[in-house]
Structures are given as structure tokens and as C-alpha cells.
């Protein structure tokens, strides 16, 4: 499972960092950064929570 984010559409709410702090981070402007594009086993639930929590719907899973 691989994560893709659309940084251009990110609004910097930080919701993903709250949901999955091991996977998502933010730059100085709050725009999403991926700490890791690959999801570790057992981390899928957190990532799905982050996808749901994102108000701009910029996170997707690519298989």
C-alpha cells in the first residue's frame, strides 16, 4: 500500500498528522509532507483515519 498526496490542494489543517503522526508531517506552511510513502503493516487503520479526516481530500492510497 502506497500513499499519494496532492500538496497543491492541501489546506494545511494538520488533520492527517493528528490521525497518523508516523506517516504524515507538515512543512513550515502546514502543507502535508510524507514521512514515508509506504505504509507499514498495522498502520493502515491510521492512514485510513487520516484520509477520512482530511478536509481537502488530498490523500489517496495507490495499490
Amino acid at each position: 500500500m502506497k500513499i499519494v498526496v496532492d500538496r497543491d490542494k492541501c489546506v494545511g489543517s494538520g488533520a492527517c498528522v493528528l490521525a497518523a503522526p508516523r506517516v504524515f508531517g507538515q512543512d513550515e506552511d502546514g502543507i502535508v509532507e510524507l514521512s514515508s510513502a509506504e505504509v507499514e503493516p498495522g498502520g493502515e487503520r491510521e492512514v485510513r483515519d487520516a484520509i477520512d479526516a482530511c478536509p481537502a481530500a488530498v490523500i489517496e492510497i495507490a495499490y
Partner: protein, 393 residues
């Protein structure tokens, strides 16, 4: 109700904006396969509102970019999306909602997410040319067309919306005056230090801030000037009224729901048997904070819509989010997590630059970041941990 029943029940969502669509999306993700109807009062495909006062008004984004869901995902919801359809009555005993066309929508579960509408100034005449509010895409496009370079804009109300528009209008070359009835607008929301600094920022950028005076009259049709209660007059080509919003609950009067200030709900966001509320219109009991809250925050719309969907599917938990919002002015982004006590309470400068924390009896109640997005995150995490602990007790 057997577990299978949750998946097949008829769900009606009243409101096709952020909270309503979040509920719909989360229902389907949790395996709801039954009929799903969404009523939206506005004719447009569901869109996101925060950019209306910022990127859209600035002319940086087109309206298409505001779609809440890509068209394909909207279709994948397999929901009956009725746009341009306003709910006019709720019948709790028969579990149905009537819309403006006279159609009846029966439900096993209803989510009310009808949002809020701008308050109007008593002295503004309906239809007065050059007088605007800003809530919908149409509102924003109308105001945007008026904001030509050199346009004299008067903003009534120095809240977040009014000041965001002031910033955007300055960037488009308008002359901007903000008129605000109280001396320190936003002190109750940002604390004394940040609210003072924000007003200072606007003044530096050339906005005339007239705090501590009201508006007596908006003269001309089309508008020519705004007369203030201190006796002075400000020439105006356009006036934006941004003095807050009221919950869209008029259609629920007499339904039996408590709609004194939004729809009163319990900690699961339940307003009555088979009826939930989400988003700006919902006032629910936050178990972690120990009080009823009604939040007009974009992030809350998503989170509350999702929480309601979980509860409809029989998987609900008390809804205890960290209240969170951000507001953008020029190149400054303010974020607030948690609760700022009335009057600002005891505020402290945090060790991290740009962070202010708010306390009551030495307990962290809230935190504010001034261009300090990453620095605020540990405080959001700390508040979340505390609320969830309190809710579990």
C-alpha cells in the same frame, strides 16, 4: 435493531455541504448500502467554503477547484443528490422531512446539516445594490466582481470573515475600512495579545480599522456611503456585512427539537430518536470539555459528519474532537486549538516562537499558533489525549 439493519436503513441527509457529505462518505465506507438521499438547498454541486473569502475572492482559484468531492467520487456514493431542494419541515413522529416542492422524504435515520446563514444589519435594505454578505459561492462571485482596483470597500464586522476579506480585498487593490462595534474584536476568540497583533497587521497593510463604533445607516442604492454611530461618514462603493451567522433552524420550529442556538444534541450528536445533527448547526455535549459546543469550524464539519455516520451504523462513541480552526491574513496563518476562555483567560507565551497557550487553573485549555503550524501540533495532541481520557471515564 439487528446489525444487518444498520446497513440497509433509509438515511436522509439534510444539507449538502461539508458535514453532510462527510456523513454520506463515511456511511458508505462503513458499509451502509441502503437508500441514501441528500437534500441541498443550493443549486451548485457541493463545494467547500473556506476558499470563498481567500483563494476564490482573490481570483487565484476558479469555482471548479472548490468541489468538495471529485465528480467521480460523488457518483460513487450512489446517493440521490437533490440540489436546489430546501427542507421546510420535519415530522419526528412519522420520521419524514418535507421539502419546498411538497415532496416527502421518509427516513429511518436523518442527519441535519443545514449550516448557518449570515446575520443582516438592521439598517441594510433587502436588495440594496452594492451590499453583500459572504456565505455562498454566488455571494463570493458577486463580491469578487465588485472588488476592482480602487474600489472603496467597507466591511461591517471585524471578525474572522470580515478581516479575511479585508486582507484579500487589499491584495486586489481595494481601499478597505473595517467597522467594528467593539474595541477589541476577536479578543474572545484569540486572546488579547494575538487579537491586538492581528488588528495591527491589518493597519500596517493599509486597512482603516474603526473599532468601537457601529453603523447607523448605509446610504444610497447603489450604495454611496456608510454613516457611523460616531457621526462620521465613510464613502463606499461596496459594503460587506460580516457580523456573524445564525443557525439554519427556522424550518425546525415546532418540530419538537430544541433549536434555541443550533440543534441541541447529546454527546453522540443525537437530537432525537433517529435524528442526528452535524456541522455549524449542531450544538452537542462535548464530554471532554464538559459543556455544550457549537462550532462554525471547517474541520469540525468533517469530523462531526463522520462521527454521526459511525453512530448511525451502531459504532458510535462520544464525539470529543479538539476544536480547531485556522484563519489566513496576508502571509500570516493563525491556528487555534482547543478553547480560548472567555476574555482570553490566563494566556502565556509558550517556549515555541509564535505559540500562545490559554489556561484555567493551570490546565491547558487552548493554544494559538501565529505562523507556527508545526509548533502547535504537540498542543493539539495533548488536548486530544486529555479529552479522550475524560470521555472514557
Amino acid at each position: 435493531m439487528p446489525a444487518a439493519g444498520f446497513h440497509q436503513q433509509r438515511v436522509l441527509i439534510v444539507g449538502a455541504s461539508a458535514a453532510g457529505l462527510a456523513a454520506a462518505t463515511a456511511l458508505r465506507r462503513r458499509g451502509h448500502t441502503g437508500p441514501l438521499t441528500i437534500l441541498g438547498a443550493e443549486p451548485e454541486t457541493p463545494y467547500d467554503r473556506p476558499p470563498l473569502s481567500k483563494q476564490l475572492l482573490a481570483g487565484d482559484w476558479s469555482a471548479e477547484r472548490l468541489d468538495l468531492l471529485p465528480r467521480q467520487k460523488l457518483a460513487e456514493l450512489k446517493a440521490e443528490l437533490r440540489l436546489g431542494t430546501r427542507a421546510v419541515a420535519l415530522d419526528l413522529s412519522c420520521r419524514r422531512v418535507l421539502d419546498g416542492s411538497g415532496a416527502s422524504h421518509e427516513f429511518d435515520a436523518a442527519v441535519i446539516a443545514t449550516g448557518v446563514s449570515p446575520r443582516m444589519l438592521a439598517c441594510a435594505r433587502p436588495g440594496q445594490a452594492g451590499v453583500y454578505v459572504l456565505r455562498t459561492l454566488r455571494d463570493a462571485l458577486g463580491l469578487s466582481a465588485a472588488l476592482t482596483a480602487g474600489c472603496r470597500l467597507v466591511v461591517a464586522g471585524g471578525g474572522f470573515l470580515g478581516l479575511e476579506v479585508a486582507a484579500t480585498a487589499r491584495s486586489r487593490g481595494a481601499e478597505v475600512t473595517v467597522v467594528e462595534a467593539v474595541e477589541q474584536p476577536l479578543a474572545a476568540r484569540l486572546g488579547p495579545t494575538a487579537s491586538r497583533r492581528l488588528l495591527g497587521l491589518h493597519r500596517e497593510r493599509g486597512v482603516a480599522v474603526r473599532a468601537g463604533t457601529g453603523i447607523a445607516e448605509i446610504s444610497g442604492d447603489p450604495v454611496r456611503a456608510v454613516l457611523l454611530t460616531d457621526g462620521t461618514s465613510v464613502p463606499a462603493d461596496a459594503v460587506l456585512i460580516a457580523i456573524g451567522a445564525r443557525p439554519n433552524t427556522d424550518w425546525l420550529e415546532g418540530s419538537g427539537l430544541d433549536v434555541a442556538d443550533g440543534i441541541t444534541c447529546d454527546e453522540y450528536c443525537r437530537a432525537a430518536p433517529a435524528v442526528w445533527a452535524a456541522g455549524d448547526v449542531a450544538r452537542w455535549f462535548h464530554h471532554g470539555i464538559g459543556a455544550h459546543l457549537r462550532l462554525e469550524h471547517r474541520t469540525n464539519a468533517t469530523e462531526q459528519g463522520q462521527a454521526v455516520a459511525a453512530d448511525i451504523m451502531g459504532e458510535g462513541r462520544p464525539f470529543v474532537p479538539v476544536p480547531f480552526f485556522w484563519t489566513d491574513h496576508y502571509d500570516t496563518r493563525l491556528q487555534v486549538a482547543g478553547i480560548v476562555p472567555a476574555g482570553g483567560g490566563a494566556e502565556r507565551a509558550a517556549p515555541e516562537p509564535g505559540v500562545i497557550t490559554f489556561h484555567a487553573h493551570d490546565t491547558l485549555n487552548g493554544a494559538l499558533g501565529w505562523n507556527a503550524v508545526r509548533q502547535l501540533m504537540p498542543y493539539r495532541q495533548a488536548l486530544r489525549a486529555r479529552y479522550e481520557l475524560a470521555a472514557a471515564e
